[in-house]
């Protein structure tokens, strides 16, 4: 009889040691009730073949970094997830009318949402302890995760700095087939509630699609988000494009300086030097991407090349002052007849004075002809250069922005 008594005492102390002797059930009582038998590794379904239905809303809070070289876009994203946990249900009546609980995520089953096209860290919930899920008495669980997504994105920089890009954010569930965790979307697009705009990129739109990727016996569910962004070009137009166009028009000026003045070479050279200096600023701002060369780069190269040619041309003309040989006939023909006509130059038939010069001596005649050749070439280059610069500059500053804004 006593044995019974003592065993009973044993039993009671054993039970109270686990449950406590509280008067009115509170949150702690409920927690203990819910989690005593709970195994957070297992999918919370009483019928093990039924899927967990997971609804996900993706909210982009901020674009943190767009790296054209690494082809990476870093965003700060919130994920609102809702599902039903069969083992976290209770009758509020039995627990002082408690209808909801806030439970740290390291206590319950949580779908392992991953970023599939991540470039650094696949996981979205690296720090479990930092988050808490809201659990309702019918088993509904609401969880908001917020992490930095570091996703890869292929850039096309041809129209830089007026380019538009399209970047993806692919979400999946680690290990589970659709038949186990069935992921669906709330909205048809990424949400930008509380979005802090990026200073260099404007968001033009987004989409979100449910996809399934078949592999072996089952298929994996994914949510494919796409974000459309457009570069805000104000800073680059002000600090790169406008100075660039200014200097290119100045390099035109060197064609205007008469070769006799002795300043032509120096002006060309200083323009070229300015370009070199300017390349320093550019080299920090242009994305180092070797897949697509931006039109801007070709613009700068062509302006540098023409400036260099104009410099060589000036040197040629200056050298002619000291020349002693007669210009070959084909050059005279080519330059003075054909090119001159192209440049709409009225090659005045000043034949009488020409004769006078001829009588003065051969060398004077050479020089005169050489000078004419030089001037005609100058005018020819000036016209070509002006046209090239006008076309490219207009395209860069007017046509491309116009095309992109539509």
């Amino acid at each position: 009889m006593l044995a019974i008594l003592f065993l009973a005492i044993h039993l009671i102390t054993h039970l109270t040691g686990q449950m406590g002797v509280q008067s009115k059930p509170n949150e702690a009582t409920l927690m203990k009730h819910l989690f005593r038998e709970y195994d957070r590794r297992a999918r919370p379904k009483k019928d093990p073949l039924a899927p967990v239905n997971l609804a996900v809303r993706v909210i982009v809070n901020q674009i943190l970094l767009v790296d054209e070289k690494k082809q990476i876009i870093e965003t700060y994203v919130s994920y609102n997830m809702t599902w039903k946990d069969d083992f976290l249900t209770w009758s509020p009546a039995n627990f002082s009318n408690l209808k909801r609980l806030v439970v740290p995520t390291n206590n319950l089953w949580v779908p392992k949402l991953i970023v599939i096209n991540a470039g650094k860290d696949v996981s979205t919930n690296t720090n479990d302890d930092g988050f808490a899920a809201e659990v309702y008495s019918n088993g509904e669980v609401k969880l908001i995760l917020a992490t930095t997504a570091y996703t890869t994105c292929i850039f096309d920089l041809t129209l830089f700095p007026f380019d538009k890009q399209k970047c993806e954010l692919k979400l999946g569930i680690f290990g589970h087939f659709c038949s186990e965790v069935n992921m669906s979307k709330y909205d048809n697009e990424l949400k930008f509630l509380w979005y802090t705009p990026h200073t260099e990129w404007a968001v033009e739109g987004s989409s979100l699609k449910e996809m399934a990727y078949k592999d072996g016996e089952g298929s994996y569910c994914t949510l494919d988000g796409t974000i459309f962004i457009r570069r805000k070009s104000l800073y680059l137009v002000n600090n790169v494009l406008i100075p660039c166009v200014l200097i290119s028009f100045i390099s035109l000026a060197s064609f205007g300086v008469p070769p006799e003045s002795g300043e032509k070479i120096s002006l060309s050279m200083t323009t070229l030097l300015s370009y070199s200096v300017f390349l320093l600023v550019l080299s920090e701002m242009l994305p180092r991407n070797s897949d697509t060369g931006p039109i801007l780069t070709y613009y700068i190269i062509s302006v540098m090349a023409i400036t260099a040619i104009s410099l060589l041309c000036s040197v040629l003309v200056v050298r002619l002052h000291y020349g002693t040989s007669k210009p070959p006939k084909w050059i005279r023909l080519l330059v003075l007849n054909y090119i001159a006509k192209l440049c709409c130059q009225t090659t005045k038939k000043v034949s009488p004075s020409a004769k006078v010069n001829e009588s003065m001596g051969e060398s004077g005649q050479f020089e005169e002809t050489w000078l004419k050749i030089g001037r005609t070439l100058d005018r020819f280059f000036a016209i070509i250069f002006f046209m090239i610069i006008m076309i490219v500059s207009l395209t860069l500053l007017v046509v491309i922005p116009a095309m992109n804004s539509t």
Copy 2:
């Protein structure tokens, strides 16, 4: 009978194994007493429907980083939190007069304070073990957390470097409704006790407001802090503004150099080169923000443009020395009559000598007229340029700072 004895021994060893046989109660005894049945996941309320009243004081210790490009402000903030834990009460008389305990935060329930408008990490207590709460015998808990808050903030850089900004720090409690954890503020503003001033930004004031954000069945409590900061411009005025204004006045000088001297082009060109070099310094200091173009940028662009125009103008005048065509009448009229009058130039009616020149030959007359046109344009540009530079420079250095200091 013996069975009873042995069972009793069993029971005793079981109990002592958990409680120890100490003579006088000490902190360890109290800890064991308090935390044996404690569940740190549950809100510490005996009445589960009563809210935890949480009072928060927000102390800004330091502004660590202000990033105008990412629109982020990083601050080092302390949070003083006080609440009442119904399960951490004891009678000091029973525990050797112990009135308070210092408990590592990973042992007790702690409200999960989060930074809502964070750009990187929402959580404020990432490293639980590093902090300890002070617990008083009546259940009052005091906790000081200190973390780096990385909050988003929209910048308006129009008045750079004399701009003022307004940044928010929104605090919330993860998952809990106001009816569960009721957050209130101690003070009406952010506190700056022990504040180490930032070298680039001065704090001009702050505010702190209690807000509630309704969502579904309940509403979430938030504390909305705002910090008003003003850029300290000394470094930027010394190293950017003053050299910038100096060079712009020098570019005026090129209008003063007579076109005949052969140094006009070279001076303009070197000024432009200096600007290019200067842009290098600037490009490191100007925030790369494409939303708002600072007035300073437009100032630099306009100075560069006018320098370029003055260069082209000089080339024009130099070229006229070698010109052979007669200037069109409308140009003569426009420049020599109207513009000259605007420039307050006394266009001396030197008609007799003009006639003499005319008799000398047509080409001499052209040159004279062209030169006059050139000089008038020079003076015209000089006046316009001087006015623009004076106005913009005065605005930048005198008016805007004056307006902002009031």
Copy 3:
């Protein structure tokens, strides 16, 4: 009798406390069944001398960083691993037809795959909790790990920017001999499914080999992956090579300017200044590697040296105008006879005028001879320089790329 009863009760409560009283077995039941006796530290083989057969597929997702200075390549790699766990088998029939489980990796034995030639972190699964393995009822385990591999790689930059490199990724199993964990490969190469191309490096191929490294009593299995990459040179050609070649051709121009014009020194000097500025851009783009000097560096040094020599040469010629001493006979002989012939210069025997000059006075004669020497040297240097620049530039821009593309 009662004692039996109560002991039975004791026994039952003990058992139910561990197993629960659920109607239909679900995932949690299975988990508990599988992991009750499981020891994740031990190799999962019933026969302890049998090896775990591990098959690995290596998928390169992205090249993150190629650091020529540190000789490091950082890649984001996925590892698909498959093995058989003797202790994780069950009969689906007993467990509601469950055929697979998704288990967080911190619950089961996982091979410690390491990167042997790592430069920072050897481990591939630093964050166990972030990943989950798929376990099938026959004991087959599938695990996908994704981590950043930071591997060392020796670079040969001689052909920069047209170089090709070969980098290794050596995988091993921490501590285990082949006779314990036998690692094999799925494929004969690294896989590039879902590869996001790097903007600076193109992947040209890869290989994967099974190796064994003998040490003491056993041998360690390794998988030696090799990745062949080629530098995409578009950005560097546009922003470094082309401007570089342009400036080098301009430095040729200084030989064309007649020494009398007074612009020769200034042109040479400004070219050299442009080079100095250009070195700034280069110094940021050239990899700071002292093992192999790229051909490009030697090209730049030689162009700088020749520009400097041409400057000194110009100074010499300008100085001769004010010279008063007679040029030594050996110089005249060397320069006017031998070098002149090399330059194909028709040294016109203008003896009569020479005589006239001679009669004019000695000093005039000196100057004339000195000038001739200067001009001949100019032409001589121009030809040599032009040849060097043509050869090096052609090699750099045409021959090396052509050789590498084959």
Copy 4:
């Protein structure tokens, strides 16, 4: 009887399961003995109202970073702590003569030493597992922690680069009053045993004081360390100050070039350009601190300003060559009489030739007078400029270093 036997067996297996059946007590036996009842959360005092007496020695191993912009100093510091743990005592005789134990810090109570004026991380022992405490049989515990302290420090940069700073390191105990944990110091200063000197800052001394900060019912103990540092200026003198002074003396040279030579403007302009380039080097080296403008900055600004003025002055003089108006009387009076006298210029009364010039024509007279005005101004500016540069340069390079070295 049998029941007794079996219960006894039960009891024994239960006990041996916890204690083991070892022949001779070893470290593991002692560990188990000491830590079975140990609660590491509680202060280790048998009398709960007695304080733990904690002695701290602070050893600075290295200054890692001094950031004048963020006002942060980062040091690598070791803390030697000693206290007595009442519960970690044993009689060596009972434990095979073991007198000391090395115990990982996550097993015993450790005072939570914090850096109060930290700018990033308050905690000193973030990674508990990395450290181990030495425990002696009388309960004495010795612990050495080593962490990076990231402390705030207010900088005064007026004397840059010859400035001295004073930085604090305030230590406290998290949560505990002095009456609970009584912190005291070993030494009166910070120790620099094994100190690796910083390459930019020299340590000139230090102090360490015990303080108490009263708050509510109790007071918190702190140890206030102060470190006095002086900037080592060798690098900055060589690479910033000396080139800076060199260029400022060169800008003097432009006053020496005669205005007629046509090189005056060009020299001034190139000097200014050199300054712009030099500002690039400076902008990387000067701390970006807007609270105190270093004297060096004002020096550079004033030199730039005077160079700019000299340039404008040169333009003025060059322009006078082409002037046609008569200089106003007050200018002649001011410049030629008063300023000339100030410059100790012997304004030779060349009245006769003046008359001759006058007879030659009015314009010639103007020019002569204007030239004189220009030259006098030149000399006047040269003298003022030379004096300013001499004074500032001497102050910077001689007086301030001398004052600071005493």
Copy 5:
């Protein structure tokens, strides 16, 4: 009787619950056998006063970073450790012939190896879970750790870029005396098996010594490794030294330009400008260390100073053209007699023409004398400058490398 039966059942279920009912012992059985009583906090010695004999091999895999400013060297190091664990022994015969086990390091006692002269993190095994030890049946334990060692190192940069440095890596055991953990070395040097060479530093040798550091009652064992490194100077010679020497020889050229030509000032100035630009490249490459000024810095300063002096000298000579005062006798004597002789100048006694000039007027005489003084000074400076540059350049490029390579 029944009680006995049931108790027996109880006992059996209790035991099987811990050991399982497996047919053949496997790794899991062995693990459970070994670790049931194991305490990983205690030194694994049955005789608690016997030391653990620890043998360490230090393998340097890579030099990651050499920071001359912070005086830090970062290496990636492997530590091979071997010791005997008295509690991890078994008889293979009883365990299916298992002779070795691979055990994760967080299960057994591991010596806490630390880097004593660390500048950031003392610990070598921060991530316990990432490593596994090999345990043999006789108790021998083999462990390979691999971590980044961040050690302090004092640099002497006098011979930069041809300097050699000596850096230490001091290893110790946290908390243990030699009498507890007796650390010894395998080899007499650091091993460089699998070493990936650094691109900037070559390893010239190494040593490893056993040391003991006495402190109070016991002494701490340390292993003092030393690594001897030499800077690979190819990159710095190509990109810093050679351009530097080139520009310094060009600054010589300005002495050759005749003062009358009007290009002397401009050449000097542009050289100085090139130096300023060049300082930009240098300032990024020179280590910012104020303890030892590299010879290279003094070389650059002296070249800059001499270039500046030559510029001032040129200005002086140009100014003399417009001079009107007679040169003082002592200057004429000093310059034309003494300095001219030093320069081996044959000061031709051109007395007749001198007289002619004298008759022409006083001012002409002045100028002639002044010009002679200028030219003599030019030649004097050219010779001194050439000698200084030759000596320093030869020393830098020939002597120091030669001395260092021996």
